[in-house]
């Protein structure tokens, strides 16, 4: 078990380094943005670039890049946006927004999704199941931005119940009522997709478990249907569902590119999109670093969690 975990972590690190190296080389192959475009003191910009080692050979730069990250968590400074400010600091101010929005959304979505999925599975092939499955199919297929637009149009414009953009941290704390209220439209839009995915998954898993022979045995030995479902079916159905929920929780760090953009939430996803559109390579690299790491860690944790949740699953065996 331990051996397997270590092997997986080492492989993850290897994958991560390969990806970052590719990105670094590809980004460094691009010409730097013209100094004139920066519209500031040309000399100053050139000096800063010199000081940051932009004129050194690419291998040296690569070495320096990793050294700065590993020793100081330093990803450089903004070139096109937040000019001269430290990338790490800016990113750390953005992450909480993403976390707050996503946290609310999954806290709402998980109970709803689980309940709907369980209900649909128990009523399989009855009209309740068909109704829920059709709705899930709709919400699963319709792109997230479409219901984001709908939510924005109805809740922000037509009824005016909620403000159009997220409150800033200067005005209100992250867990204050003002902040929550300003984020409700985004939270709802995000929750749709999660609810749909979770309902679908739960329904599929539970209805598969419900056909198992041991459930028949449980009924035969005298358990009521409810007892059999809660004590036997649910616990087995949860084996694949829990890792999925765990993955969702890790994913809250990453925010959502498109929802943050639509509702102008100054989160990490929004920062990423801006860094791409204005071509700020330092921010782009830092964000890529963050996202890639997040994806890899989430995948690893989800995979390993199977072994912890269900001891019958032996890790690393085929």
């Amino acid at each position: 078990m331990l051996k397997y975990v270590i092997k997986r972590i080492l492989l993850m690190i290897l994958t991560f380094i390969v990806i970052m190296t590719m990105c670094f080389v590809l980004i460094k192959m691009l010409p730097l943005p013209a100094v004139k475009e920066q519209g500031r003191d040309v000399q100053l910009v050139l000096q800063r670039r010199e000081a940051m080692g932009y004129n050194k050979p690419i291998m040296t730069q690569y070495y320096l890049y990793w050294r700065h990250i590993l020793l100081a968590g330093d990803f450089g400074v903004g070139e096109q946006m937040y000019v001269g400010q430290e990338v790490t600091k800016i990113m750390l101010t953005k992450i909480p927004y993403s976390i707050v929005v996503n946290l609310y959304s999954i806290l709402i979505a998980i109970p709803i999704g689980l309940l709907l999925g369980i209900y649909a599975a128990l009523k399989k092939n009855k009209w309740q199941d068909h109704f829920i499955s059709t709705l899930v199919m709709l919400f699963y297929s319709v792109p997230s931005y479409v219901y984001a637009f709908l939510v924005q149009y109805i809740l922000c414009f037509k009824t005016g119940w909620f403000p159009l953009t997220a409150a800033s941290r200067e005005v209100a704390g992250f867990f204050s009522w003002t902040m929550f209220r300003s984020m409700v439209p985004a939270v709802i839009s995000l929750a749709f997709g999660t609810v749909a995915g979770l309902t679908r998954f739960t329904r599929a898993e539970l209805s598969e478990v419900l056909t198992g022979d041991y459930l028949l045995l449980a009924r035969t030995k005298g358990l009521t249907r409810n007892q059999a479902i809660t004590r036997h079916a649910m616990r087995n159905a949860m084996v694949p569902i829990l890792p999925m929920i765990l993955g969702e929780f890790i994913g809250i760090l990453g925010g959502s590119l498109i929802i943050e953009n639509i509702f102008s939430i100054p989160g990490i996803g929004n920062l990423y999109v801006t860094s791409i559109t204005v071509r700020d390579y330092n921010f782009f690299m830092a964000d890529t670093f963050f996202y890639t790491l997040l994806g890899l860690v989430a995948g690893l944790v989800v995979d390993l969690s199977y072994g912890f949740i269900d001891p019958r699953i032996k890790m690393g065996q085929r």
Binding site: I27, F149, R203
Partner: protein, 518 residues
Amino acid sequence: MADKRINLENIPKEKFALAGENRRITDTKFETKPVGYFKDAFNRFKKNKSSLVAAIIILLLFLFALIVPFFSNYNVTFRDGYYKMLLPKSKLFSFLGWDGCSWYTVSQAGYDSYSAIGYEYGGSAVRKTSEPMVEEGTGKTYYKIYLDSYEKVGFAYVDLTEDEFIALKDYQNSTGIQVCYPIPENYKMSYQSVANGANLWYKLADTSNTTTGAALRHDENGMPIFENNYIIKDNPTYGRYDSLRIPGDDGGKNGKSWYVYSIKNQTGYRVRVLYSEYYKYKNGFEANHLFGTNQHGQDIFVCLAMGARLSFILAISVSIINFIIGVSYGSVEGYYGGLVDLIMERISDILSSVPFIVVATLFQLHLANRVGAVPSLLFAFVLTGWIGIASRVRTQFYRFKNSEYVLAARTLGARDSRLIFRHVLPNSLGTIITGTVLIIPGVIFSESMLTYLGIVNLETSGLTSIGTMLSNGQAYLSTFPHIIMFPAVFISLLEISFNLFGNGLRDAFNPSLRGAEE
């Protein structure tokens, strides 16, 4: 007794006769027709009503994308400076409220200004009017009017060169349609400072007011008096003025004075035109936007078709390429196994760990200038898109490669390629086809997301995509929701249909998986 007994051991040869000597013994022919793998799947697919409907919707959307650009008067590069944000209008279904009009609440001044537009040429921009509502407290009057978004553009000043001006005059003379209208006295004031300047042709009570609501004269009952205010000159060729006169419309009081229809400037002439007629003259057809126009004056109907076309082309090419790469990669991986599998699996692991947005961005940064935005987007989709199919194929190979019939074929001397393509791969064809089809909605969604976020910009290459249309419309979500509604509905319909279709395919190819998710 003994005579009657037959000696069974020595039956004479003559006693034997061949049974059915002249009958040919063959297998009886099947009464039914043979049902092949695909035929079987198709039969099952036909029974699935929702998937069948989805397939028909996909076909219709596809035909829409294919055909509309050929028969439309417009194209993506068509932009109009005045017919912006027009509402959807269909001549055929105008009774359903699809008539390019909408309700506005306007003040008295706004009401006067809008009704004055139609008054001059005998049309009407205001289709219906509610009773005036008087606001308590301020005593101001408001109207609810049903305003035609096409007619409300009204008049415009356009600058023409000498040749264009003469051509326009010829057009007027030959067809008898009046395009140019007299220029009003308040031309200077209104052209420079009033938004709808060319529509202020009547006398104002208060010319100092420079907003659209510049006060009009009213009679005792509060009804507007439309009194024309045109520039009249005695001599048509007087000074720097050059006028065009339509026969029968001399405007003169004494037969000597004329309305001024154009004003000469350094580059040519400035004329005041009725925009709907000028549009017809300029473009050769009447303005009619089935889905309205956006803030650039582009026709949403044709943009949507072109955007859908791009999405379809991209998605279908990506799925075909991914199919080819995925099948070859997965087969090699799964068939040979061992070290080959280990190395290839690591490669695909690494590739699949790169966030898609990073791939798309890097391809855009590096390749978009060299090969264009669309091909680089295609490469980005292909780079990581085949992994799903490859892993499906690999799993199938692991399942079948050691089965008895493969062993038998190998014993009979079949080569590797024959084993792969003739014996193992056809078994997994159903899963692979389903996987390939389900790539399409994913690609369409990702493409629209990238163009929506502005990470991929297609507009520079004279193209448009659904994502671009969505981002165009987002700023006008509260005021002109139709700009965003049509692309959003289109893409939702497409995604739902493709998912239903894919599910139907999966059920048809693998009946044992029916109803299961993934």
